[in-house]
Amino acid sequence: MMITTSSKLLYGLGAGSLAAGFVWFVANEGQQLGSVMFAFLAVAFIFLGAIASYTRDGHVLSTDTAAHASSAASQKSVGRSLWPFGTAVSAGVTVVGLISSPGIFKVGVALLIAMLGEWMISNWAERASSSNEYNTKVRDYLVHPLELPVAGALLLAVIVLSFSRVFLALSKSVGAIVFAGMGALILFFGALIAVKRQANRRVVGAILGVLLLALAGTGVATALDGEREQLTEAAEEDHFAHRGCTEEKEYSDKKASRAVSMKSSILANVILTEDGQLYAEATGYPGQQSAITIQRSNPSTILFVNESSEARRMVLSYGKVVEDLGDGVERESALEACTSKVEKGGQQAVTVVVPKPSSASDEPFTITVPGVEGAKIDVFVP
């Protein structure tokens, strides 16, 4: 019976968790924490339910000695098989292909089919009769004509390809080191085999297999030496070269985007409308505001929303700072915080700590948008 008492309960709880996650998601306007948590709770429950089904609540009676006799451990030995291993490798190749190139993917799929076929035939053959020898014969008769040539060709191809790839990718000095390393490895295993003569040939085979796999893996890895397209943009943008708060510059600096700001912590939204109006929306104030209050010394996040057609940025000016450069020389610089330029519909937040009250400054604190006349919000810092 698949559906045991506890698996029933566990499946039920899994379904309940899903429902709870849904309710949470709806009730909290799409807040993710609770919903993801519930989703995983559901996964865990359903997983345990499946295990409970599988083990029939683990309820094998302690007096059931027949279970011992029929347990797998006491079954007699049958032939060995490398097919699971082969399946693993081909699965690996398939996934590599999926990510990198269709060619490798196709090879992987072919391998996978071949290996699974072999595994299944072996499995079938083992049950063909009670005689192991007969079973092996049946299997070989079925499969050998197919598998030997294919396997040989494939092995050769993989080795050649991988080596060439590794060579191509390595610089000269590194190449030398790699080869020294490989030499040492081969020497080591050779010595090992020599010392321990009875070492099982299959173990040796396995070690070589692993080396082969490693080689193939490295080859694939170097062949795929590239990045996903989306990521290259950040590098291309080179923010430092463009930083600044003026209209011409595009980015503020690296920091601006690094300080990830939570939407839930937004002090005010500053919105630039299509017709060049700038207004603020802040929690607790009704409607559109032309002035906002920023708490002194408090990290405050202001979100800029650009609805105009141009790429724009928001600049918050909050006074000046005078640096003493020594020898009575002073440098005055404006205190500013700005977002990067964003396209229409884009948003960008800036987190700022204003240390001085606005009353301490001769010039009023403002939020402006460079290049848009009259777009100004007064900022008051108590």
Binding site: F47, A206, S261
Partner: protein
């Protein structure tokens, strides 16, 4: 062949198997909790319109480059580990000691490969943990994953030692061990998708 008349063994009750399943369930919550926090952080990050690629979440600092190849290789390695672990079970059930031992060795090796890939990713990214929410979260989530993988490796080592030291009868431990690696693969697939693909 037996040297003594064996006392009847306790019937196979799959304690280790069920226990491992429960560990996996608990660890699912661990990884799930981390991913929940991750998605919460990410969902709360403001986005901006990129001129070329549509909306971009300003969640991941732009100077961070994720070594995707290594991450993908890591995922592949996880899948391979699974098959290896299952192979060990398969062989052990058939009293095939050599293959089972080999499969366990391979499991360990590929498990180490995943660990190696993780170390590689860390060193390549060179993320400063103090740099911000993404950085902290990245280390937290990959750190938890690594911890679970190390636990898996310890499990494999234990299973190997026990297998080598014992007769052929440790199939329950081996299948439980395989279950744990299945769980790790599933968990890493989730982490891989959320952290390395979606970012």
């Amino acid at each position: 062949m037996l040297t003594l008349p064996p006392a009847p063994q306790p019937a196979p009750k799959r304690q280790v198997f069920v226990g491992t399943a429960l560990v996996s369930a608990a660890a699912t919550m661990l990884v799930g909790g981390m991913l929940a926090i991750w998605s919460q952080f990410r969902a709360d990050a403001p986005f901006r319109e990129s001129p070329r690629r549509g909306p971009i979440k300003d969640w991941m600092p732009k100077d961070i480059v994720v070594p995707e190849v290594a991450a993908n290789m890591m995922l592949i390695a996880f899948f391979v580990v699974c098959v290896m672990a299952q192979w060990a079970v398969w062989s052990a059930k058939r009293n095939d000691r050599q293959h089972a031992g080999m499969a366990l060795g391979m499991t360990l090796l590929m498990g180490l490969a995943t660990l190696n890939a993780q170390l590689f990713i860390w060193s390549q990214m060179g993320v400063d943990v103090r740099g911000g929410a993404f950085n902290s979260m990245f280390y937290a989530i990959t750190g938890v994953m690594t911890f679970l993988v190390i636990a898996g490796l310890v499990y494999t080592a234990v299973a190997t030692f026990r297998y080598l030291g014992r007769g052929n009868s440790d199939v329950p431990t081996l299948s439980a061990h395989a279950l744990y690696w299945y769980f790790l693969t599933a968990a890493f697939s989730a982490v891989w998708f959320v952290v390395y693909v979606q970012k």
